[in-house]
Amino acid sequence: MVKVTLDNVSKFFGKVKAVVDLNLKIGDGEFIALLGPSGCGKTTTLLMVAGIYKPTKGRILFDDRDVTRLPPRDRNVGMVFQSYALYPHMTVYDNIAFPLRLKKVPKNEIDRKVRQVAKLLRIEELLNRKPSQLSGGQQQRVALGRALVKEPDVLLLDEPLSNLDAKLRVIMRAELKKLQKELKVTTIYVTHDQVEAMSMADKIAVMNAGRLQQYAEPSELYNRPANLFVAGFIGSPPMNFVEGSVKEVNGEYYFDSAHFNLKLSSEIGELISSKTSEVIMGFRPEDARIIKEEQPNTIQGKVYVVEPLGKDIIVNVKVGEILVKILTRPGIEIMPGQDIWLKLNMNKIHFFEKQSGKVII
């Protein structure tokens, strides 16, 4: 097992900047997720760690060893591809044994290891089949087996669950996480699905347009997003954003949007106005309460549509021109068109600079 360090790594394809100045430190045995929308450079990053792509700039270190120029075969990494990339002309057994055969491991040793991995992944009865005779979930296990059998220093997973059906995905999520904790192998997991990243990873690196947005633990990402992109990307339903400005009137601070005023505590008010006045306020759908009578410091709105999810309800509320989503428990009677008021949990609201999108608080 190794620590992986990406030191100012960039990758350009002609004029396209796929990854720009990426710095990441991944601890020994850590499970990190690279999260971002498609085309954000996360798979490119993974392929650079694997050695398939050479970085245009920067260095990649495994522990203190510079592997930037090493070909994939000299890095001892295991990788599961999104398509699984099983060799169609080989049986499951041969697929898993392939990396060991290349290492010239003795035959009985290969057999022992293949069976051990097959047992771990519960694919023992599939060993004589060809990949085309397997279901998606089975193929995924075989691909994982092939990556694990050579006891890699780093395990790279490129959207391994995206080709599975929803139910299997939830099961495999937990299994993968447990497996990783058991084997204690340093793991980099690429996904565009924030639920996968949040539920599995020790740390998440959120990427957008080739740049790292924030690298932190899941709870930190959720509760203290570094910028508008992270705030909007993490969480489902996403965070609500309202543009406005912070003003001081008679020593009291207000957030002033086109449709409502919100009184802020003086600490928050001072902090914001010391930096900028044009801001975007964000609050998560679960951090607002719906009340039916007007109270001081609430936001008036009109119910637009109600989406019941079983355990929760998403209430879409029209506040002036904008639509916000509020997550609430079933039980209160809410009808579309009804006038309601929103009481925000003032400890949990976020403010971002309008210009840069950077978080203020």
Partner: protein, 297 residues
């Protein structure tokens, strides 16, 4: 009348339309085959008939026409012990061409499909353009080259020269075809092999090559048949009858002597067609796939 009724007319109209459809199919696809099959059938029947027949009804059953398989055959002043030396020459030419074409075009096709280098697209266009010129325009220039290389009029070495020329003419198209097969293999597979511990060469050999076997099969068949049926180059450059190939032999059977043994010619024609028949009957699926293109997965 609903939309469904209009799209699928019921009753009498539907039946008539269906019959019409089959009539059109038969006229277009089946009728043109009748004369071709009749001619082949005549060839088969004639080769076992003692007399010249003008139909497909055999008369005077005999194996005499096939005597070239075991007894000497005369052609002008030259007498062959039997047909086999000529067949071996033809096989040598066909297999030589196949070997060279497969070896070079699988390597070249991979490079064109997978590697980035300057002038890649230009090269591919050039390959297609090359194919537009018939080989006959190269005859004189090639003669000069063969002569310089000392391959002209040197017995078996002349056939080697022809193998080189023929392979050279076949390689561009074969490379182009096999490139399509390489294109169909996802990068992921090759990357997986690299991560698993292969060098690029090893990945090509152990993972990529087995997956383009259908393509290799297809270009082997094409190049074998084109070598097997090569006439012009052998006819032009080979002066020693000992190194004739079957197409040239058949030409001489028809062309230069007043008396034509129709029965033997038919048998010879059928004998000549045997590899073609074997190949096409065993590899129909393969050939269909290459015309449709790529690997089904």
């Amino acid at each position: 009348m609903g939309v469904k009724d209009r799209l699928f007319p019921i009753g009498g109209t539907a039946l008539i339309l269906n019959i019409l459809k089959y009539i059109v199919v038969i006229i277009v696809a089946v009728v043109p085959l009748i004369p071709i099959w009749t001619m082949i059938l005549w060839l088969a029947v004639q080769s076992f008939s003692g007399k010249v027949i003008l139909g497909i009804i055999p008369s005077d059953f005999t194996f005499k026409n096939w005597r070239f398989l075991w007894s000497p055959m005369k052609m002008g002043l030259k007498e062959y012990p039997n047909i086999w030396p000529i067949t071996l020459n033809t096989l040598f030419l066909a297999l030589g061409v196949t070997g060279l074409v497969v070896f070079i075009s699988t390597l070249g096709g991979y490079a064109l499909s997978r590697m980035e280098f300057k002038g890649r697209v230009g090269l591919m266009q050039f390959i297609i353009a090359l194919h537009a010129f018939p080989s006959i325009i190269l005859l004189i220039a090639l003669f000069v080259i063969l002569n310089h290389l000392g391959l002209y009029g040197k017995g078996i070495m002349t056939l080697v020269g022809i193998v080189l020329i023929k392979a050279g003419l076949e390689i561009p198209m074969a490379t182009w075809i096999i490139k399509g097969f390489f294109d169909a293999i996802p990068w992921d597979l090759e990357w997986a092999a690299l991560v698993d511990g292969c060098t690029r060469w090893k990945a090509w050999r152990t993972v990529i090559l087995p997956l383009v076997l259908p393509g290799i099969g297809a270009i082997s068949i094409f190049s074998f048949l084109s070598g097997w049926s090569e006439f012009l180059l052998v006819f032009t450059y080979v002066k020693d009858e000992a190194y004739y190939t079957l197409p040239v032999l058949i030409y001489h059977m028809i062309g230069e002597y007043k008396f034509i043994d129709w029965g033997m010619l038919a048998a010879l024609g059928l004998f000549y067609a045997i590899p073609t028949i074997i190949f096409f009957s065993t590899s129909q699926k393969l050939l269909l796939r290459i015309y449709v293109g790529g690997i089904k997965r």
